[in-house]
Amino acid sequence: MRTLLIPVLCAVVIVALLPLIAGYIVLVERKVMAHMQARLGPMRVGPHGLLQPIADALKLMLKEDVIPTNADRLIFWFAPVASVAAALVAYSAMPIGPAFQIADLNVGLLFIVAVSSLGIYGVVLGGWASNSHYSLLGAMRSAAQLVSYEVAAGLALVSVLLLAGSLSMKEIVQAQLDQGVWFVFYVPFGFFIYLVASIAETNRAPFDLPEADSEIVAGYMTEYSGFRWALYFLAEYANVIVVAGVATTLFFGGWLRPLTRYHDHFPGTHVELLDVVPAFAMIALALYCFRLAPRQPLRVQKRVMAAAGVKCVLFAGILFAALFGSDAVREGVHGAFWFLAKVGAYIYCFMWFRFTFPRYRFDQLMRLSWQFLIPLGLVNVIGVAVAIVLRERWDWNPFFSLVPTTIVTLGFAAWLTADKLELSGTDEDIAAESAAVLPGSGE
Amino acid sequence: MIPVSHYLFLSLALFAVGVVGVLTRRNVIIMLMSIELILNAVNINLVAFSRLYGSVDGQVFAIFVIADAAAEAAVGLGIILAFFRNRKTIHADEMDLLKW
């Protein structure tokens, strides 16, 4: 039973913290969006809106629970739960730092992909159970979209698997440590495909067709309100974190520090120069909070802001103290920091895309996946395979073999975009296209 | 340790339920789903025996079964869709075009 203790603890921590983290990601998203759009965003609840997620969560929990007439009550109840469950289970194989992982499955990556693909049931069944045309359209769109982009994402993952030679998340990170380079530099196209596909799989703009608010109101969530809606929302953000975590692990070295192989000790200690960066970043953040605190209009807000600063100091202290702990402690704490920092950067990109791009149309979305990403992914996988053979048989330097691969893939991508990806195809094209992928929408 | 026979009993139960489903339901989609259930029961057997004999051959077979199930589902559902378009029904006993 001792062996079960740590995984169970990890699971409890994740399940307990995730809603809070999701809430604060929403806050960050709103703030980032606001600043990109020349406005302020939430400012009222807490200093700079810092307590907004808590207020929102309370509001959502207290809202009336509406079930539409003629809805399928059982499935209407079950669907959001399925969504959240799928999203949460995916965390069980996610290594947040070398020490913090619930289970190191040797099929970890496939497990995450498989489980997060189950989240589609929540969407499809929810859309169907609502007994509303908007919901049904959203559900249909979602089903077709997720299935299509899973293929593209899978091909992107294969290119990394070839390089790492393992499906275990930990071993993939280890492979990047051993080979001394993050895989994003080896297979930039694999990363590109995964980036696009992961946006599509999490239903985020510009691929947010299943919940396109200006077209089908809110898609599969149209009839949901209150806590059930919050569950969908939680599932969406949990999924965003999952794909960000997968991308981080596969392409950005997981918990590894940038310049992992570069050692630069302080004289007389084993503390490395670069390892001090996280602590100082936290202290800088704390100073920023302290500077803002006196300017808050209310005393409560001043205190919350100061508390945020104190929290940052605390984190800085932990990060700093960990430097002098044992290797396991240091790697655990700093690994978690770097992992979360990379995940945050990835999510920031998601937000950035969301505020910048208009939304694809359904047939364009399908065409992008089937006619661009999937062929590109295939070429990429073949190229990486050839490069690996070159490396293993004739001892080529990986960069020598992978750079031509990337150039070939780039050429292929250029050819695809030039000839095939005319997004505004003729009507017949579009009709044939959608008839092939979506039986409900052809001529 | 759980004896293999328990896996076989489980497999048997699923298989029997699947057979009953195929034979008794009128809805073609549910019949198809029952067939999936039967294939699944077979998979449990294969994996249990694979474990019993310490070889992965059974698991490989199970993978083939799953591939076959995928093919079957795709074609079967295609037929059902085409049939539904023409006849507006998905009931097996109303599929009597050739019976006359």
């Binding site: 496939l110 589609i120 | 048997l12 139960a13 699944n40 083939f64 869709l81 009931h91």
Partner: protein
Amino acid sequence: MMLAKLLFYFFALLAVGSAVLMVTRRNIVHAAVFLVTTLLATAGIFLQLEAEFLFVVQLLVYAGGIMVLFVFVIMLVNLDIEMRAVRFNKQWTVAGALAFVLAMQVLTALWVGRKTFHLPAAPAALAERNTETVADALFSHFVLAFEVASILLLVAMIGAVVMGKRRAE
């Protein structure tokens, strides 16, 4: 070991229970949900048998792929008809008898051979590197079957597209 046993019986009960529910539900969507539950429970049993790769394939292909297709098609066909229709056809008794006979046969066979079924602990290598061993078998001994399976899938794909496509009006 207690835990393993508990898990097995839990998954087995879940699988059989939801299979029965699947066959008896009037609403096809409910039936599909119960089938998904059965498939997930089966996946759990695979995991419990230390067939990790198969466990993931079951999740990914069966639950995440095939059943999504089912649900998708169910939504395309009209459900209202089914809600009012008679659920079972007239072969209920025949089918029951047949299934019973079948079950009895298999039970007898099991009873006869009950002594031989003792599950040994899986060889360490098999459990450790399940994916690799499966892959080795798949791409060496079974490579022909593998290729045949891929052609089968290709044919099925083409067939499904042809079938699903509407005739040009």
